[in-house]
């Protein structure tokens, strides 16, 4: 029988030494970096997470163009674009706080799990200090949650669901793009003015988070002005042929069809509705009307002539004549040969806003950036005077009501702005029921 010298005291001593040894690298690491991916050298890396494959790949490509342009301008290349018109003047074209801006890209594939995986990779492997982009609310909510956990800033791209800055809002996440509530608040008065207050609306709605919040927002806004909602029908995402959902509309006394669809679904449902002669139909002694609350010029091209005369809303349009919009269109158009989309605009602006916040805060620390962005008021970025509200990290600015142009002069000239709805009209209380159920929580620096 062998004898061992194992005593309680020796086990404790060995454990303490081993524990200290294991903890040593972590202590050194945390001492070296105050927050996740603190830029150490002469560069800073941003992560552009956009759909590069899948149904929104064209929108993603336009977002990426805008990001590349923003990086050029931040690094002092090109004509400076909106840096020249931005009300904040701390960015000097020498990168961000003197560090040259570099970037990595990820492919969201417009799938939440793929988007999270690509964002995680950019944060953990490439050292991205900020993640931005996306063309879907499902993706935005998923990546925003990841960035909150990882301790980096998320500057959302195109996401229109109320939930992004409502029940799913996070302290590290910021949205410049408008939302479904704002679409309803901007659109409803124009609809009532043009089509009358005595209307019966039939909703076809994409069956996921964005569709639900848009349906709720538009129905509430139109009902408040006297419209009746006859029916709300949910349609599967990517239904293809919508004829079997369109034909029941003919059997009701509805005189307005509201298509809460985006992307390919919007193209198909609108095309089907026009094919079935809804626009020539007379109901209740009135012309039948179709409304597409969220318009995208890139998507509208797929619907061709069917969008003519159709009312909707949009975050920004290249035909705006303010100095910021013109500067951006000139930079983008000269570089790429065509005007930017609203997705490109919001992504470009988000990059500038992040860089500006870092420069004003004097730090890349996410909590300092959050503080700099909260309550920040700015102008010169294409939407007029804008507020990044502290309570929910949502931008409040004018909203455009647009209409499919009857006589387009070019393949880009598809929409015309019929009204610029002032920010005050689309502003809501932070505790509005449509945005209830979530909390920003505390910022996380990693």
């Amino acid at each position: 029988m062998s004898k061992t010298d194992l005593t309680r005291r020796s086990v404790l001593r060995t454990g303490a030494v081993a524990g200290a040894g294991l903890a040593l690298p972590t202590i050194f690491t945390s001492g070296a970096s105050a927050f996740t991916n603190e830029p150490m050298g002469g560069t800073v890396t941003l992560g552009f997470n956009v759909p590069q494959s899948g149904a929104y790949a064209d929108e993603g490509a336009d977002e990426l163009r805008a990001y590349q342009l923003a990086v050029e301008h931040l690094n002092g290349e090109g004509d400076g674009g909106m840096l020249n018109t931005f009300s904040s003047k701390v960015l000097e074209g020498n990168g961000i706080m003197g560090k040259k801006v570099e970037y990595v890209t990820g492919d969201t594939q417009t799938k939440s799990d793929a988007a999270r995986a690509s964002a995680k990779s950019m944060i953990e492997k490439d050292g991205a200090v900020m993640i931005t982009g996306g063309s879907s609310s499902g993706v935005a909510v998923a990546v925003q949650g990841l960035c909150q956990e990882a301790g980096v800033i998320f500057m959302a791209g195109l996401t229109h669901s109320n939930d992004t800055t409502g029940k799913d809002k996070k302290a590290n996440g910021f949205r410049h793009f408008f939302n479904a509530y704002m679409s309803g608040a901007a659109l409803a008065p124009v609809l009532a003015a043009r089509y009358g207050a005595d209307r019966k609306a039939y909703h076809l709605t994409a069956d996921y988070t964005w569709g639900w919040t848009q349906e709720e927002s538009i129905a509430a806004a139109t009902e408040a002005l006297g419209w009746q909602t006859v029916n709300k029908v949910r349609t599967p995402l990517g239904a293809g042929d919508f004829s079997s959902y369109i034909t029941p509309v003919l059997q009701t006394d509805a005189d307005v069809l509201i298509l809460n669809h985006y992307g390919g679904d919007m193209v198909n449902s609108l095309t089907n509705a026009v094919q079935f002669g809804l626009r020539e139909k007379m109901v209740n002694g009135k012309n039948f009307e179709i409304v597409v609350p969220l318009f995208s010029r890139l998507m509208a091209r797929g619907a061709g002539e069917n969008i003519k005369g159709i009312l909707g809303s949009t975050n920004w349009h290249w035909s705006l004549t303010d100095a910021g919009s013109q500067a951006f269109v000139k930079s983008f158009g000269t570089k790429y040969g065509f005007p930017p989309s609203q997705a490109a605009h919001t992504c470009y602006v988000q990059t500038l806003l992040y860089a500006d916040a870092v420069a004003r805060a004097g730090s890349f620390n996410p909590c300092a950036v959050v503080e700099a962005l909260e309550g920040f008021e700015f102008d010169g970025l294409g939407n007029g005077p804008t507020l990044y509200r502290a309570e929910d990290h949502q931008c409040f600015k004018d909203v455009l009501v647009v209409r499919g142009k009857e006589n387009p002069t070019s393949e880009f000239d598809l929409l015309e702005v019929v009204e610029v709805t002032p920010a005050a009209q689309v502003t809501y209380a932070p505790d509005h029921p449509m945005f209830a159920g979530g909390a920003l929580g505390a910022c996380n620096a990693g």
Partner: protein, 343 residues
């Protein structure tokens, strides 16, 4: 009553597309024994033949109009299609307007060539491999084809309208004594239904009444015996692959005005059409056509608000529910033959 009539028309319309694709799938399976998951991609390529011809006819030269400016404030470039310059504005415009019907002629040789290339270049190497291998390779081919299309045409749908003459709707309601505008149906969808019936009739007639068709049918029943008679059945089957590709291709061309073509439209149809083939009975041509129309009609009726309020979500699963019921009660499908995929 009006709702039922409208959904019946919708079902016939959807069923036309299902039947045309499933017919090609069954032809390939019946003749070559290959489970071709790339068949939806062939339908998609057909739709893009319509897009391509439309783009070709719209090829334009540019002239500067000093009185107008573009979005950057430079003198605007005015585009004039070459066909309008060559053949006069009226005839040139008519050619562009009729690009979809013209694309049928344009697509047939292209689709036959695509079919031959697929069969000779790839699929023939998998004839004697298990069905799982065939499914994997054809599914991979489908993904490659759709990515190629996306590379050249982008990810967004591309509007490809029907000729102006067919843009309106036919008022069945007025004809049947209902109120006007209660049962209206777009002309182009009616044309699609008629076109599908014509193509299906032509394929059946070709197989039934020609010597070539007779040999193919004999080969489908007993390939070995036909080969022993000195007939090169493989060559005929390759031709049938080309024919099946042409059928799916023209189905795609005519569908372009109904749904703006996009690169993944083939995948959207593929799974449904496989269910159609299984429900109809593997290898049965009449079964594929009958199941195509049946499932199209059932899918349409399941989208009715009254049905959805009773069974929420039924519109998304009806086809698969029917498939399960049919496979449980008639494992060979509606018109399946003994011995097909049962070895």
């Amino acid at each position: 009553m009006e709702t039922i009539l409208l959904q019946l028309l919708n079902g016939l319309d959807k069923g036309s597309a299902y039947a045309l694709i499933a017919l090609g799938l069954t032809l390939i399976f019946g003749t070559l024994g290959v489970v071709n998951f790339a068949h939806g991609a062939i339908f998609m390529i057909g739709a893009f033949c319509a897009v391509t011809l439309s783009k070709l006819l719209n090829l334009s030269f540019e002239t500067i109009d000093p009185e107008k400016v573009d979005f950057l404030g430079n003198p605007a470039k005015i585009k004039t299609p070459y066909v309008e310059a060559w053949f006069g504005p009226d005839f040139g415009h008519a050619l562009i307007d009729w690009s979809v019907p013209l694309a049928i002629l344009f697509s047939i040789p292209i689709m036959i060539a695509v079919g031959f290339a697929m069969e000779r270049g790839l699929i023939k190497h998998f004839y004697k491999r298990p069905h799982a291998d065939q499914i994997l390779v054809t599914f991979g081919l489908a993904i490659v084809l759709q990515e190629v299309i996306k590379y050249f045409y982008g990810a967004n749908p591309i509007s490809t309208p029907a000729p102006d003459a067919f843009k309106g709707s036919f008022d069945f309601g007025a004809m049947l004594g209902f109120d006007p505008n209660m049962i209206i149906y777009p002309y182009w969808r009616l044309i699609y239904f008629g076109f599908a019936a014509l193509v299906i009739g032509a394929v059946f007639s070709f197989l039934q009444f020609t010597t070539f068709g007779m040999v193919v049918r004999a080969g489908m029943a007993d390939r070995e015996t036909v080969g022993l008679l000195g007939i090169n059945i493989d060559r005929r089957f390759t031709i049938m692959f080309g024919l099946a590709a042409a059928v799916a291709g023209v189905a795609g061309v005519m569908y372009a005005p109904i749904l703006s073509p996009n690169y993944h439209m083939g995948m959207d149809f593929l799974v449904l059409c496989f269910v159609v083939v299984v429900v109809g009975g593997m290898g049965s041509l009449p079964g594929a056509v009958a199941a195509g129309f049946l499932l199209g009609i059932l899918e349409s009726f399941s989208s009715m608000n009254a049905v959805k309020s009773l069974l929420p979500g039924i519109d998304q699963i009806i086809i698969y529910v029917v498939a399960i019921v049919i496979l449980l009660t008639r494992p060979r499908g509606l018109m399946g033959k003994k011995g097909v995929m049962e070895e």
